[in-house]
Amino acid sequence: MSDLPMIAGALITAPLPVAAINWHSLFFLLFALVACGFAIAVVAADNVVRMAFYLVLSLGATAGLFFLAGAEFLGAMQLMIYVGGTLVLLVFGVMLTAQAPLVAIKGSGRDRVLAGIVGVALLALLLQAAFSVKPWRAPAAGVVAEPAATPIGMSLVGVRVDEPAVGAPAANKRPGYMLPFEIVSIHLLVVLVGAAYLARAKRRKVPRAIEVAASVEPPASVAEHASIGRERHRSGSVLAGGRP
């Protein structure tokens, strides 16, 4: 972060021609900084509500990266499903369980040190792998990505419209995604039914007051009937609004 004023100063003092700026790279840098910065903020924050907010920003910036990579359909899906759906679900979870002692549960210091060591080691490993990738150069200027929505939709029903031309070697032919699409759809259905079953409001097994009274002793007089009625009314209101 301390480099930014330096870069800005260099941009002012050194005559960097505007034509030398690669705008694609500039916006990539912007989105990448937001995505990585807020991902680290998610780790650093203790308050779970703030973590949810930082996660929204990080995932939104990742959608921006998808747009920059030419995957505009995927970026739109990321915004709609992740930012619009999954995170709203998470925020609801946060709100339903947000009691003062639970909002900020801190791990012990030993856990933090251990997690930090593991994280730094893993990051070093992954960065080494990332930099050892053969330098893929950007294609010549003027390449425009085809709109991806139609090929994706067709591939999901098993037809590849992005196939290599006729006469290409058979090794280049790629199958469609009919079967994974069906599996994922069934999986989603089962999962949603299961989630609704797990999270449904459970009715507690509280014996109704009239049954309790009947089991204790049979009602003998009208006055007792009236008292049972009152008791039943009271316990009914408890049942309706008494869930903690």
Binding site: L16, A32, C36, F66, L90, I152, L156, L198
Partner: protein
């Protein structure tokens, strides 16, 4: 001119050079590691869930980078549509996973009145 500026500020190349696939891989690695550390460190069950989302997003960034038509290398085929479709499946499965995990968390909260994962030791022998 560019060399002078580049020597003045080492990071200026990030703005003047075109983006390569390595840039995306670095972003994906940082997201992934953030998610792993988040999963390992947080004691709130919802924080662990957020770590999982970050990990899946890091994987998605890599898929998209290798599928991008703008980052194609010479002599190596990009993943093309396959990468985008796989990333789409990952997003869908992440949504399903979040729904189930949230239902489990709410159930746990109803039974134990806490979302601390360290307290979920009923099955410990």
């Amino acid at each position: 001119m560019n060399i002078v500026v580049a020597s003045a500020v080492p990071l200026i190349g990030l703005i003047t050079e075109p983006v390569s696939v390595t840039h995306y891989l670095v972003v994906g690695a940082i997201l992934f590691v953030s998610g792993v550390v988040c999963m390992a460190m947080k004691r709130n069950a919802l924080g662990v869930l957020m770590g999982i989302e970050l990990v899946l997003n890091g994987a998605n960034v890599n898929f998209v980078a290798f599928a991008s038509p703008y980052l194609q290398g010479e002599g190596s085929r990009s993943l093309g549509l396959d990468g985008q479709v796989f990333a789409l499946f990952v997003i869908l499965l992440a949504a399903a996973e979040a729904a189930v995990a949230l239902a489990i968390t709410l159930n746990f909260y109803n039974n134990h009145a806490t979302v601390d994962v360290d307290r979920a030791d009923d099955l410990k022998g």
